[in-house]
Amino acid sequence: MFYLVPRNEIPLSFRITIPIISVVLTIICGFFIFSVLGYEPDKALYHFFISPLSRVDKIADLFVKACPLMIIGTGLVLCFRANIWNIGAEGQLIMGAIFAGALALYFPNTQSIWLLPFMAILAFLGGAFWALIPALLKIKLRTNEILVTLMLTYVASLFLDWLVRGPWRSPTSFGFPLTAYYPDVGLISKIYFPGIGYISQLHWGVIMAILICLFCWFTMEKTIFGFQFKLIGDSPKALRFSGFNESNTTLSIFIISGGLAGLAGMIEVSANIGQLQPNISFGYGFTAIIVAFLARLNPAAVIISALLIALIEVGGDSAQIALAIPKVVTGVFKGILLFFLLAGETLTKYEIKYNFNLQSKTND
């Protein structure tokens, strides 16, 4: 039998190698899966992991796909570090998109450049509002936030469904569940590179996402504010001794992570869709949980881990287009990758000891 002993110090080599080893092991697993399924494994892996990197415009697509994951993932890193289990980012994203959408649809003819910033603020407020419900319940009544955030996700998505099929449906959509288009000033434009033009769909939201990640990393690592976030997770007692209020810290973490998710929702709609429709998210809020873990709870590394997850998603489509590999393989890959990462997490935190004498295991 083996058992776990907590490590006092986490070896440097582990911190570096675990994510890399996890990815490599996932690829090896992929090799076997493809062999068993009867595809040529080398070709399949090429299309999964390399072809999305083979051209500049395809790399731009990766950034576009990773954009919401980066923003949500950063917020979740704050949560998870503080031991707050907000798994309802999907719902907060939808609420953010609804709030921002309300503004855009209320001013269909506006020319004001202020529309977009105000949409962003409203989106943040919308996401934060949706996160405030579990936050207050947790603080006031010690209600489990995992369950509340999960339930609220479904409520938000049904609310959006009702809006776009009912009161917000555009009169010119022939009855299809779509709202009117946002005014042009409510859209996020693509990045124009002088001399090159546009690169695929690469838009300014991506730059914003990267800046948010870096800003959060800086705040977490270099400021007293970030220190307080870490303390609440590691040792709530120490937090109290150092004079911070646990409730306020919890509240601000919920507001920030919910707000960021809401912002991600607004960016996704304004940059890629241009109107509200019944589905706007495709599980970004849940996928971002993997991103946060893959980044080993470091906001800067979120950028890279979001790109990696985007690579698996985009690669899944490429592999399907090229070799007709079923799309569901993507899910299997994501699951396996997360399993390896979680196992790696254990290896960094604990030493695994073997003991063949079962008697002594449970005794001191």
């Binding site: 890399i20 083979s54 697509d61 009855g175 241009g274 429709q277 706007i280 287009i321």
Partner: protein, 373 residues
């Protein structure tokens, strides 16, 4: 501790760099093939036995018809949104000459990519937006439902018909109203109860909806959702029903009266042939119904599976209705026509044009209830 992060970053960047080096050295997709390459984008797995399955059957017909001259491929499970844009673009970049996008939600993505690739022909199914290189095609699904209404009217004993519908969009409402017109033509007493499943595809929910309708007394069921589970439920309960999109006879051998089968093959073959000989057009421009191919029973875009589980007199009435629609002697929506709140929609002698069909937001007489929202 600080250094670690940089080592991690450096390590990952190194991997990206190595991968990138090899990636750029791998030979690109082989250029210029004599074959015409045609791609299809599907919303779900083609095994759904409903909507996407019917498109897959059409693709296979294309492959058989053209043999070596055309190479087809498909991408399944493509969500309607930014992912669709990326997938369609990748198909365009991979040297496809023609791309069929087979769900309404691909309208914006298809339009976006069509503008970027003016030399590639795009064909969007069920939409209303067109461009210089983007055509649209659709089937007059409602025609088959009129025949279903006739058969239902002659089959029902309880005079209650159950209808499982997906979403209150014009295509579905056309179907319900057409069914009602067929029903009333043979049976003035029967009524239709509609249950909105609010999904195209959720087998368990569709089955639940069917059970509810049977519990409410319906003995003939129709559906405008995609899975065979309504028919399976009907089979078990000993009532009758109609198949959707494809022949679902195997799922309900004694319950299925017949199925309206979406026959995309002829449309696809015709469009590809036009693309080959240069006569492919998209009509006058965007947002006109003129550039849309919208055909039904008369052109075999919609075909009816064998009439089963009904007496020969009913089968004959069904066949007559089918032939009448095909040769134009039956006009489904012709006056006098009232909605179910007693307002006159069409006066005697008037008929509904296509614009009127797409503006349908009422139930005709014989349907119970109100359209949601």
């Amino acid at each position: 501790m600080k250094n670690n992060r940089f080592i991690v970053l450096a390590g990952l960047l190194a991997i990206v760099a190595v991968v990138y080096y090899f990636a750029t050295n791998v030979d690109q997709v082989d250029e210029e093939d004599a074959k015409m390459k045609v791609a299809f984008v599907y919303l779900t797995n083609p095994g759904d036995h409903g909507w996407t399955y019917a498109h897959e059957v059409g693709r296979l017909q294309v492959q058989e018809h053209f043999g070596d001259k055309v190479e087809t491929s498909y991408v399944e499970n493509v969500p309607e949104g930014p992912d669709a844009t990326r997938v369609i673009r990748e198909l365009a970049q991979n040297g496809n000459d023609m791309i069929f996008t087979t769900s309404f939600g691909y309208m914006e993505p298809t339009l976006k990519v069509a503008k970027e690739f003016p030399n590639i022909k795009f064909d969007h199914i069920t939409g209303y937006m067109r461009a210089e290189n983007m055509a649209t095609g659709n089937i007059r699904f409602y025609e088959g439902r009129y025949v279903q209404g006739v058969v239902a009217g002659l089959t029902t004993k309880s005079n209650k018909i159950g209808y499982v519908a997906a979403f209150p969009i014009p295509e579905v409402i056309q179907g319900i109203n057409s069914f009602a017109q067929g029903l009333k033509s043979v049976n003035k007493d029967a009524t239709i109860s509609v249950v909105w499943a609010n999904t195209w595809y959720d087998p368990v929910k569709e089955g639940d909806a069917a059970k509810v309708l049977i519990a409410e007394g319906a003995d003939v069921l129709a559906q405008h959702t995609d899975s065979p589970s309504m028919l399976q439920t009907a089979e078990k309960a000993g009532v009758h029903g109609f198949g959707q999109s494809s022949d679902m006879h195997e799922f309900a051998p004694s319950a299925q009266l017949f199925a309206s089968v979406n026959n995309w093959g002829p449309y696809y073959i015709a469009q590809i042939e036009k693309a080959m000989d240069g006569s492919w057009t998209t009509g006058e421009g965007p947002d006109h119904w003129a550039g849309n191919t919208w055909k039904g029973l008369s052109d075999d875009f919609l075909v009816l599976s064998d009439f089963k589980n009904m007496p020969s007199s009913v089968a004959k009435a069904a066949q007559d209705a089918r032939d009448g629609i095909a040769d134009g002697s039956i006009n489904i929506f012709s006056g006098p026509m009232m909605d179910n709140e007693g307002n006159q929609i069409l006066a005697s002698g008037e008929v509904l044009d296509d614009a009127g069909l797409w503006a349908m937001n009422y139930y005709v007489d014989g349907v119970i209830g109100k359209i949601p929202n």
